[in-house]
Each structure stands twice: as structure tokens, then as C-alpha cells.
Symmetry: C2
Subunit: 118 residues, 2 copies
């Protein structure tokens, strides 16, 4: 998988929130993917559970704004961003791992209460 | 482990580079820690291998500059930073996982050639 494909996947993820398009999420994630958001909470396992999680997230109206380079290494991409919700922001780092088909197989989101600002 | 302890560990990691003090590294990492830097390359396993790796890194004169919030979640902390070497910079994201003793048990660094700037 090319670095440009991983960076493109991150931009499509941002676009999914901008356009509230769950089909982008369905296309990005593998059928047997795992999502841990935030890290330390229960996993969302499998594309159905993942789509249910993101349908909620997308419908909240939250938008994502990258706040630095996408960092690609091995089969992974890590990136810093802000979630924008009204006048509030949350600073988050997401890490995606991709499978051989170029789908996200593992997603972890790192953030906590101290990353909220309003 | 308190969030403030994890944030403090990140600041001491930055200080280890600022002062080229390997003793800070020795104190931060667990005896059986693993370091993958960058992700996708061979692991440095155990404190001896990790100290050898960092003695090299510290003596290079590289300095670290945080470029955003430390994100704490579960037993982890993730943070974006730049490595400064002369007129060059590398944008990196590190993820630390801590053990029950508050030591780093797993460290992963996400960066690639496209994160170099000069």
C-alpha cells in the first residue's frame, strides 16, 4: 500500500464527517475491523458495530480538522486532528492500521477529558 | 496512574533529549519494555537494547518540540512533536503505553520520509 493511499484514506475519513456519508466509512473499514475510541473503552468489532458507532458520530454534526501531517509508518498511519462541535473542540490522535487489501483493520483514538476546550 | 503523571513522563522524555541525559530514559522505561521506532522496523526489546538505541539518538543532538496536546486514554499517552536537527525537522507521533508501575512498557513512533522538512 502506497503512502499516498494511506494519506488519501485519512482525507476520506475527514470527508465522511464533512458530508455525513456513512458509505465512506463502510468503504474504508475491513469487514472484521476493530475500533477502540477512546483507547481503554470497549471495542467496536466488525463492520456492523463500526457503522452503528459512526452513524451516531456522523449525525452529531461533529467535523474533523487535521492539525498536522499524517505520519505513515509500516502498515499504519497516525494523525493529529481536532473535532469541532459548536464552540467546543477536542484534540485527538487517531492511529489506523491497514490490511493487505488497503482497508482499515484496526483504529485507535487517543483523547481524554483534558483535551476538551470551549 | 494519573493523567498528570503520563503528561509528566512525556515532558521528561523531551527533557532527556534537551539535556542528553540517558538516566531519564532508564527511569522512564520498564525493564521489559519494547520500542518500535519507526513502526514497521525491528523492535528494541529490553532496557539494555533500548538504552543503546537512545544513547545513539541523544548523542545525535536532536531536540524534541511538542506541537500539540498530549492525548491520554486508558493506559496510553499519544503526542505530536517535531524532531529538530540543524535546519531540518521531522514530524512524528509517539504512543506510550504504561504498566502498573507507571513505566513505559511499549513505545511506538509513527513517521516516514515524507515527514522530513528542511
Amino acid at each position: 500500500m502506497e503512502v499516498s493511499d494511506k494519506i488519501n484514506a485519512v482525507h476520506r475519513y475527514v470527508e465522511a464527517f464533512a458530508t455525513q456519508d456513512i458509505n465512506i466509512i463502510k468503504d474504508l473499514f475491513a469487514a472484521d475491523a476493530r475500533v477502540e475510541d477512546p483507547v481503554g473503552t470497549d471495542l467496536h468489532e466488525g463492520i456492523e458495530a463500526i457503522c452503528a458507532f459512526y452513524e451516531n458520530a456522523l449525525s452529531s454534526g461533529a467535523k474533523l480538522k487535521l492539525t498536522g501531517d499524517v505520519r505513515c509508518a509500516g502498515t499504519a498511519a497516525a494523525f493529529p486532528f481536532q473535532v469541532l462541535m459548536g464552540d467546543s473542540t477536542i484534540d485527538i490522535i487517531d492511529v489506523f492500521y491497514f490490511n493487505d487489501d488497503g482497508k482499515i483493520i484496526d483504529m485507535k483514538a487517543y483523547w481524554g477529558p483534558e483535551n476538551f476546550k470551549s
